[in-house]
């Protein structure tokens, strides 16, 4: 890819971010919150994509990092009276360390074994958070001091999204990224052709843990109350996977449009068919899986609208 193309893409990102930055004043509280959560899911999908899209290690426990981030924020802000912004960095750091510690053994497992091990990891962390009452208040959850914060959290989420997109963009256009792809395509060959697969997988996994933690922290401060079942909710992991697959795994733009479209569809079906929204949503997903198995980006490539591969 030429320097001009990179400039054009970064310009598009700047325009997108600027448009979102100008929005909140014109929106109702409901819409402001809705856009903030959409942006959160963009961050979550892009992060999941770093390990599962590029490297092919499908994580069914990524909500663990999100939950770690929201609890870091909850504990530091509500109990230790920290300002909420530095707590996001602590959450990111703790999630990174947990990812490295868990990833070192678990990334040796392949395919469904890895997926199940991650599911178990997330559940274990939820149980630890539930029983470690002195630190986390267990099942009582944590309440934050009640204040109106929809503007600050909106902008914080926006900044986080821009950072996540930039990191994803670097991964998606670098030799680091194509080496992750090589691991996904054939790990034995990649290892025999010079890729230190253990190191690369761990790096991708660590990277993929930081941003959900920060996003979880911002979200916790926004909703002002957290408890283990809501912060370690498996449906959040499923959403990360689904949004990424819908948009197109292993691409930068795929998870972004996947999250924006599906989160919006989810919200609209919920608003319009409150009793049947999961059925409507389910039908939509079945149709997509049937007609666009490689997601929107795969479809775009088949139609000749986008180029194959990520480094040109």
């Amino acid at each position: 890819m030429t320097g001009r193309e990179h400039l054009r893409n970064l310009g598009a990102l700047a325009a997108f971010a600027l448009a979102l930055a100008l929005l909140p004043g014109m929106l109702t509280l409901y819409l402001r919150t809705f856009v903030m959560f959409t942006v959160l899911y963009v961050v979550l999908a892009l992060s999941w994509n770093m390990i599962s899209g590029y490297t092919g290690y499908v994580s069914f426990g990524h909500v663990a990092f999100y939950g770690i981030g929201s609890y870091a924020c909850g504990i530091l802000v509500a109990d230790y009276r920290w300002h909420w912004i530095p707590s996001l960095f602590v959450g990111g750091l703790v999630a990174l360390l947990v990812a490295l510690a868990v990833g070192y053994p678990v990334l040796r497992l392949k395919g469904p074994y890895f997926a199940i091990a991650m599911l178990g990891t997330a559940e274990s962390i939820r149980v630890i958070v539930t029983v470690w009452e002195r630190l986390t208040h267990g099942g009582y959850g944590i309440n934050f001091p009640n204040i109106e914060n929809s503007f600050e959290t909106y902008y914080a989420m926006l900044v986080l999204m821009v950072v996540t997109i930039l990191v994803s963009y670097w991964v998606g256009h670098s030799r680091f990224g194509i080496r992750l792809n090589a691991i996904r395509e054939d790990e034995v060959a990649a290892e025999a052709l010079g890729v230190n697969t253990t190191l690369y997988k761990l790096a991708a996994f660590g990277l993929s843990a930081i941003f959900p933690a920060a996003g979880g922290g911002i979200q916790a401060y926004k909703v002002l109350r957290i408890e283990p079942p809501s912060e370690f909710f498996i449906q959040i992991t499923i959403a990360m996977a689904l949004f990424t697959m819908f948009g197109g795994k292993g691409t930068v733009i795929g998870p972004v449009i996947g999250a924006v479209i599906l989160y919006t569809v989810q919200e609209l079906t919920w608003v319009n068919f409150p009793t049947a929204h999961l059925i409507a949503y389910g039908i939509f997903i079945i149709l997509v899986a049937r007609f666009m198995p490689r997601g929107l980006m795969g479809f775009a490539i088949d139609m000749g609208w986008a180029r194959k591969g990520m480094v040109h």
């Binding site: 034995v188 290892e191 052709l193 010079g194 990520m310």
Partner: protein, 242 residues
């Protein structure tokens, strides 16, 4: 113990690998001459591919040593052995199917090589194996012969000293095969050591200077093609006792 490292590229000493009761490689020793094309042949199941996998660290040996430039390779990870300058292709092609031809090549470049150089090298190799027109195509969409060429090019990305080719001729049409063989000779002329596992005896007999024959996990013969053709033990391994 490592032999004359100027003449010998790989010194394989008493290599063993058993899979349960199967003695895939069972005390195999041979010295691969530097800067020449060598052939490794033997009936199906004689342990050729396992030997390749042991040399490249893809599977660890039960015992035995492999010396390369005086350094023992056993215990090293595949990527470490690769970075020492030993590259390979696979019996069944293992190209990256959902990556473009260009990405297949670029993924192999060492990160110590600046990206600009790595890209230039990838372009040069695509030219070398006549795949430039398919630069942006997925590896999985190429024909089998083209995939073999891609794998061959990929093994050359880092300019390795030793190149192990596992059945380069299988499934490749004659014209393409001649191109491939020309390129193998060009590599040899530039000083590379090449080892070929192959069932196509024309390829082995006409292009290798030295041949090693394996049967039931051990080396049963070695020598130039003319000697191997007449060797009783080799004939017996292939055709049975007369």
């Amino acid at each position: 113990m490592t032999g004359d490292t100027n003449e010998i590229a790989l010194d394989i000493q008493d290599l063993r690998k058993h899979f349960g009761a199967i003695r895939a490689v069972d005390g195999c020793s041979f010295k691969v001459p530097r800067g020449k094309i060598s052939g490794l042949i033997g009936p199906n199941g004689s342990g050729k591919t396992t030997t390749f996998n042991l040399l490249t660290g893809v599977i660890p040996p039960d015992s035995g040593d492999v010396f390369y430039n005086g350094q023992n390779l056993t215990g090293l990870k595949p990527y470490q052995i690769f970075r020492l300058g030993i590259s390979r292709t696979f019996q069944i092609v293992r190209i990256y199917r959902e990556m473009t031809v260009f990405e297949n090549l670029l993924s192999v470049s060492s990160l110590s090589m600046p990206e600009r150089e790595a890209r230039a090298r990838a372009e040069e190799l695509m030219e070398f194996v006549t795949l430039s027109k398919l630069r942006g195509e997925y590896g999985g969409n190429l024909s089998y012969g083209q995939q073999k060429l891609l794998e061959f090019a990929r093994a050359l990305m880092t300019d390795p000293d030793v190149i192990l080719l596992d059945e380069p001729a299988a499934g490749v049409n004659r014209t393409l095969l001649n191109t491939l063989l020309d390129q193998i000779h060009r590599l040899q002329e530039s000083g590379k050591t090449i080892i070929i596992v192959e069932h196509d005896m024309n390829v082995i007999m006409n292009h290798c200077e030295k041949i090693f024959v394996m049967d039931y996990g051990v080396k049963i013969a070695e020598g130039p093609p003319d000697e191997i053709k007449k060797n009783e033990q080799v004939l017996e391994a292939y055709f049975g006792r007369r």
